[in-house]
């Protein structure tokens, strides 16, 4: 048995705050062997990144290592001085961060950054450093390294940049790499390439990798060993296959069961019931007071006909000199009454633009949107007001979709007041009822959004969206900013809404398993065009387009689990 290249023993990190000592990491121990990829998984705030930062000696003040030991190749490194830690960082321990946009300096060429790093760590001549840099670029599969060497970061795509960051981490031939959410900011297809690259490099160079992620799919695909963390503590530690297929700890079990599966459509997600997080939703009660939406005239509530959106790329005084970027190109589909229509695609494929055009947040540059037979693009001001009453939207980022300076009560009451749905004296009662239905307490009404967690905020958004009793709900990546367990809760609420209230929905996501769980029919978008529309069943079983098949193929899956 080989020696572990890095061992963490009973590591505790503490942050002194005004309200006492806060310990984001408690008693964490794990080992990394050469050539091994260890996944560290957990929800936000679980302390997984903090552990990684402690290892590379990058804890932000006032956080500090309170107790425990970190050993690197038989040398204790947690009690070294700042200078000594700096020497190890980058040299012995490489780092890959989440955002490839900000981890490269935009003012230097890729080559300069690589050469500088190499010369900093290894005593080699400039020519030799350049040779090594070219070899590294080649190693991380950057095509045509000689040309790329002299280019700036903005000339690289997101995935390519992340490869360059990996090359930078490899410069000094480190023995351990800490990769903190290395693929979270990337599209699925690029994520797969980057993960493959990390796997390949680990085997080839025998470097030990700590892969911090919140994504169970990434863990299943990439890692050999996994450490599951929950609120600062390690709850389970072991070989990935074993932990995923036969989790021992309650938390791991519920976490795994909450991950959406692409294979089978479940009726409801199991709730993550660890740590008293369960909340009850009473959508059935809401249904009693809800007038059943009247069926649309044609059976198709929303018809989208060849809509196009162009954004100005280069402005000029003469219209003929202006250039445009076509974000959405001639997209047509329709959504039947009570249906959940999914729209998937990579970032930049125009799916959010479509949603915003249907929601009248963006003007339509060509084509028509019809709602219950009426053309939205040609409506009078009165008609638009009436249309807005019947549609609502749930946004991606729960931290920016609620006005931070308004109390929850005013947020939820705003649509009621604006559309004069209720007399003012009944509004407060309705708001309380809505909050109650989405599982928030009455006391929530008098608080401000910052007092809530991401999942709770998203529930406030849902309460606001339901206030006007809309017929049509647009969900723009409603769960992509949330943890898996919270995602399960929110998706369950949406499923309930759809079932009990007969709500028609447009559901936008880049996450295929989630789409599989939510949608009846799915449209696939690629570079502004809708390339395929299918029943969800058919699409996931036998996609027509090659691109769709590729997307399906690339999604990380929990293959070991039989759903």
């Amino acid at each position: 048995m080989t020696e572990p290249v890095l061992s963490i023993r009973n590591l505790t990190v503490e942050i002194p705050t005004r309200r006492g000592l806060f310990k984001p990491v408690q008693n964490v121990s794990y080992d990394i062997f050469p050539g091994e990829i260890r996944g560290v998984v957990g929800e936000s705030g679980a302390g997984k990144s903090m552990t990684g930062n402690a290892v590379i000696g990058l804890l932000d003040d006032p956080a500090r290592v309170a107790s425990g030991e970190i050993w690197l190749k038989g040398r204790r490194i947690d009690n070294l001085s700042r200078e000594e830690k700096r020497a190890i960082r980058g040299r012995e321990i490489g780092m890959i961060f989440q955002d490839p946009l900000t981890s490269l300096n935009p003012l230097f060429t890729i080559g300069e950054q690589l050469v500088e790093t190499i010369q900093l760590h290894l005593k080699v001549s400039a020519a030799e450093a350049k040779e090594r840099a070219l070899a590294l670029l080649d190693r991380v599969s950057i095509p045509d390294p000689k040309t790329r060497f002299d280019q700036y970061p903005h000339q690289f795509s997101g995935g390519m940049r992340q490869r360059v960051v990996i090359a930078l981490a490899l410069c000094s031939e480190p023995s351990v790499i800490v990769a903190d959410e290395p693929t979270t900011a990337l599209d699925v297809s690029i994520q797969a390439q980057v993960l493959d690259l990390i796997k390949e490099l680990a085997t080839e160079t025998q470097v030990g990798v700590i892969l911090v992620t919140h994504d169970m799919g990434v863990i299943a695909d990439t890692t050999e060993q996994v450490t599951v963390m929950y609120s600062g503590e390690v709850v389970e530690n072991g070989p990935t296959d074993k932990v995923l297929s036969a989790p021992e700890h309650e938390y791991t079990k519920s976490l795994i069961s909450a991950v959406p599966r692409p294979q089978v459509k479940l009726h409801r997600f199991p709730q993550v019931s660890y740590g008293g997080r369960e909340t009850t939703f009473k959508i059935e009660d809401l249904a009693r007071n809800w007038h059943k939406p009247e069926p649309s005239k044609s059976g198709k509530l929303v018809e989208v006909n060849g809509i196009t959106k162009k954004f100005l790329e280069k402005s000029a005084i003469l219209p003929s000199q202006r250039t445009y970027f076509t974000a959405v190109d001639n997209v047509s589909f329709d959504i039947k009454d009570g249906e959940v229509f999914g729209l998937v695609g990579e970032s930049g494929s125009g799916k959010s633009t479509v949603a915003r055009m249907i929601g009248t947040l963006l003007s339509v540059d060509g084509g028509h949107v019809k709602f219950d037979g009426d053309d939205v693009t040609e409506m009078s001001a009165q008609g638009i007001a009436n249309y807005r009453k019947q549609i609502q939207m749930i946004f991606q980022d729960p931290f920016s979709s609620l006005n931070p300076r308004m109390k929850v009560e005013s947020i939820v009451a705003e649509p009621l007041l604006h559309h004069k749905i209720l007399p003012p004296d009944q509004i407060s009662a309705r708001v309380h009822e809505l909050l109650d239905r989405v599982g928030l307490t009455r006391a929530a009404a008098s608080k401000y959004p910052h007092e809530f967690s991401g999942g709770q905020r998203q529930r406030i958004s849902i309460a606001r969206a339901l206030a006007t009793q809309p017929r049509f709900l647009i969900c723009d990546e409603p769960t992509s900013a949330l943890d898996v367990s919270i995602q399960a809760q929110i998706l369950n609420i949406l499923k309930d809404l759809q079932e009990h209230l007969g709500l028609t929905m447009l559901f936008i996501s880049h996450d295929l398993p989630v789409v599989r769980q939510m949608c009846d029919r799915v449209g696939v978008m690629k570079q502004g065009q809708l390339i395929e529309v299918q029943d969800a069943e058919t699409l996931f079983a036998k996609p027509e387009q090659e691109y769709t098949a590729q997307l399906l193929d690339l999604m990380p899956r929990l293959a070991q689990l039989s759903g």
Binding site: S44, G47, L402, P415, T441
Partner: protein
């Protein structure tokens, strides 16, 4: 998502503590209590402002009441009895026998009133134009911001003197003294709105792309409601910071204008007017007529400025 919330699922305590308790418990108050600079400058500003507001109660004499003046008391040095009348004055008297301490208190009233009013005027104008420019964009934005750029190319003192000159020309002689104060406010306010408009426009550009604004638009709220009810409350903290710093600058600007003789008239002297009067006697030995008003102006402007600096650090840590 990265690890941000300390305890993501913690339900906030359901009982709402009283407003006072919350204020004392806030991070803002905590930061205040741990910054000696902030506390000292807050105390100095508050003492100066209060003594200006309550000047009639504090001041031993009313410097504007001709009946209380005795020319014989002129040029009395501080704390020394006057050679003719035997009266003593804490900070001495000026050429007309007015108690310098009292004139400072009354002068500060005018300085502060002009400062506050001018900043308020600039804030209101700047916020309105900045919101409109940022929210609507396009040619409206270009028009407003170009006007702001043009405004910036003139030194603010020059603008103020220009306005002052025009106003002086069009007001009848008998109203000139009363008009002077309002013209000062207009002049300083007009030369100051640009920075508010710029900051507000920038913040509006950021805020208008956030989803809560989209949500309000989706509901169908009118642009005016979105700007005032949704965006404005979220951009007030940088405005507050600049307003505090501008207050110090406005007080100095007022003093400068008054010193140059285009500001507050000698019958209603502000700190600047007092300094102007005093500087005539500096070389003939009556230093106190200049010294005390100048010190007061320094203390006032410095403490307000430091308070503004501290506010900026607390509310806008990234600007440090």
């Amino acid at each position: 998502m990265t690890d941000q919330p300390i305890s993501p699922q913690k339900e906030a305590p359901s009982a709402t503590p009283s407003r006072m308790r919350r204020a004392l418990d806030s991070d803002f108050y905590y930061a205040f209590r741990h910054s000696p600079v902030a506390m000292v400058s807050a105390v100095v500003s508050i003492v100066l402002i209060l003594s200006a507001v309550f000047a009639p109660l504090i001041a031993p004499y009313n410097p504007f009441d001709p009946t209380s003046l005795n020319l014989m008391n002129g040029f009395t040095p501080p704390t020394e009895p006057n050679a003719f009348t035997g009266e003593t004055f804490l900070m001495g008297t000026d050429d007309q026998g007015r108690d310098v301490f009292s004139t400072i208190l009354y002068g500060m009233r005018i300085s502060l009133f002009v400062g506050f009013a001018a900043v308020l005027f600039a804030v209101v104008l700047g916020i309105l134009l900045g919101l409109i420019a940022g929210y609507f964009g396009g040619w409206v934005d270009s028009f407003i911001m170009r006007a702001a750029d043009v405004q910036l190319t003139f030194p603010s003192i020059l603008v103020a003197m220009l306005i002052f000159g025009i106003a002086k020309g069009i007001t009848p002689v008998e109203h000139r003294d009363q008009m002077a104060i309002w013209v000062l406010i207009l002049a300083i306010g007009l030369s100051d709105w640009v920075q508010f408009a710029r900051v507000v426009r920038g913040a509006t550009l950021v805020e208008k792309n956030k989803d809560y604004v989209s949500a309000a638009r989706l509901i169908g709220r009118r642009p005016s409601a979105i700007m005032l009810r949704h965006i404005l409350p979220n951009i007030l903290s940088p405005v507050l910071v600049i307003a505090t710093i501008s207050l110090a600058l406005a007080i100095i600007a007022e003093a400068t204008l008054s010193f140059l003789g285009v500001g507050a008239p000698p019958t209603q002297p502000s700190l600047g007017t007092l300094i102007r009067i005093g500087q005539g006697y500096l070389f003939s030995g009556e230093w106190w007529i200049l010294f005390f008003p100048a010190c007061t102006l320094l203390a006032l402007a410095l403490s307000v400025n430091m308070l503004g600096d501290w506010l900026r650090d607390v509310l806008n840590p990234r600007l440090k």
